[in-house]
Amino acid sequence: MRAFLLRRALHAVFVLWGVVSAVFFLVRLTGDPTPFLVDQTATQQEIAEARTRLGLDRALHVQYLDFLRSVPRGDFGTSIREKRPAMQMVLEHLWPATVELAAAALLLSTILAIPLGVASATHKNGAVDHASRLASLFLQSMPSFWLGLMLILLFAVELGGLLPAFGSGSLRHLILPAVTLAAAPLAQNVRLIRSGMLEVLQQDYVRTARAKGLAERFVIYRHALRNAAIPVITVTGLSLGFMLSGAVIIETVFSWPGMGRLIVQAVPGRDFPVIQAGVFVFALIFVGLNLIVDLLYTVVDPRVRLT
């Protein structure tokens, strides 16, 4: 276990170094942020002065080494647009908005998927199966901005303000964005569980369990689901990235003050420190959560050993 954790820690440091280096050079490819900081009638000289003030006129390797030195301290510099510490801005959007939305969507897409997927598999080709497959296919076949707008029009306008069209901070505000964000992964999980269950239910040990006279419910949830859950865990680990950054579209539609929109908007705004801090935090969370996913495998499937 200790060796495993050490290996993973080294691995994580490597991935983080790769990510911050990639973002450092990528943002500098997008060109100069200074035209944003000056008036439309500013002259070349004024622009050059603004660039010097930002330290962007230094040699690239000097900037890079400087950047690498300050990353471990959590110092990502000052936002070019907002003139505030970039890391502070990212953290303000991470907590609570992004965490709330991602957690709610994660719960919805996994917890709701289990009964739906199981019911689908145990009633194969029945009405429940057809309904849940159709619904999943439907949810996966719409761009999220469109689904979100339709939900707003339905729940906020047509149903007389049953749910709010924008805002954050309460459960009522969370419902529509969380449902929109969860839609595609939920649909995928239902189908994963269904096909996983169908396969597992054919296998010997499940038949044995049934033959031993164990209750059907016990067989399903104790034996079959455990195995069917593994692909769900894998896919969820991969879709965490989507929950965190792909949320930008949902954040835009629902005016949700999350991290995704902050970072993605910082690219057209050429706010290098904010992009760098945001991508770093994103990578840190992604790496951390995937470590948890790996640990989860051992809980769900005792055959998996950590090496």
């Binding site: 296919l137 719409m142 950054s245």
Partner: protein, 280 residues
Amino acid sequence: MIGLARDGGAILGLIVIGGTILMAALAPALSPADPVKNSLIDRLAPPMWSAGGSAKHPLGTDTLGRDVASRLLYGARVSLIVGLAAVVVAGVLGVALGLVSGYYRGFTDDALMRLGDVQLAFPVLVLAVAVLAVLGASLANVILVLGVTGWITYARIVRGETLSLRQREFVEAARALGATDRYLLWRHILPNVLPPVTVVATFSVARTIIAEASLSFLGLGIPPPAPSWGAMLDEGRNYITTGWWLALFPGLAILLLVLGINLVGDWLRDQLDPRMERSM
């Protein structure tokens, strides 16, 4: 092709896909008008069956007076090209790197897989926005971005399969008989990794078509005036109350095509490899 006849969903899916391909291929013949040429006088005409509509524009016109039906037909081309080309880019890149990784192992494997880890930990949309800001939005660049960000999924699957295949008897036997690496990869390993790759690729086409629409929403899609279903849906969202047909038709088209591809994908998965989705 066992079971196709019994799977109504897959047949439906094939019909939808076939229909879309036909629409795309015959777009010049079927279109009532030029999809790009605008005419402000004819702006926002409703479909022919609504009050104020005319047979000249069966599905109405858009905000620039362009014929919606024609744009839909030509848009099928763009959506199919983006979906297929991006998946081919991702698939070829992923399969090649996955084969190399799994077959040669060692440093190459480590380097490629760590590169993949770095890429997965990098927010896709930030990458897309930044790359398109540098390169500019165009059909080719959208395909490039959607393709290059997808290789890792294929690489991981192929690598895993290759790792286990290279230990198998028939590969060992061929190697003992003096087969070259290249021969082994091409003749023995590649054919065996293709079925799972095909299934993943099918679902990816559907996902890419959705992703293209999302890029349009962020202003990074196929640039105007070329018609794409994603861009049409995005343009239509500001006219939900005043020009419902602008969004409805491309929305339906996306829905049906993606639905069709997913249905076929489901069937393919059942046929080729029931355990497939584990590695997705």
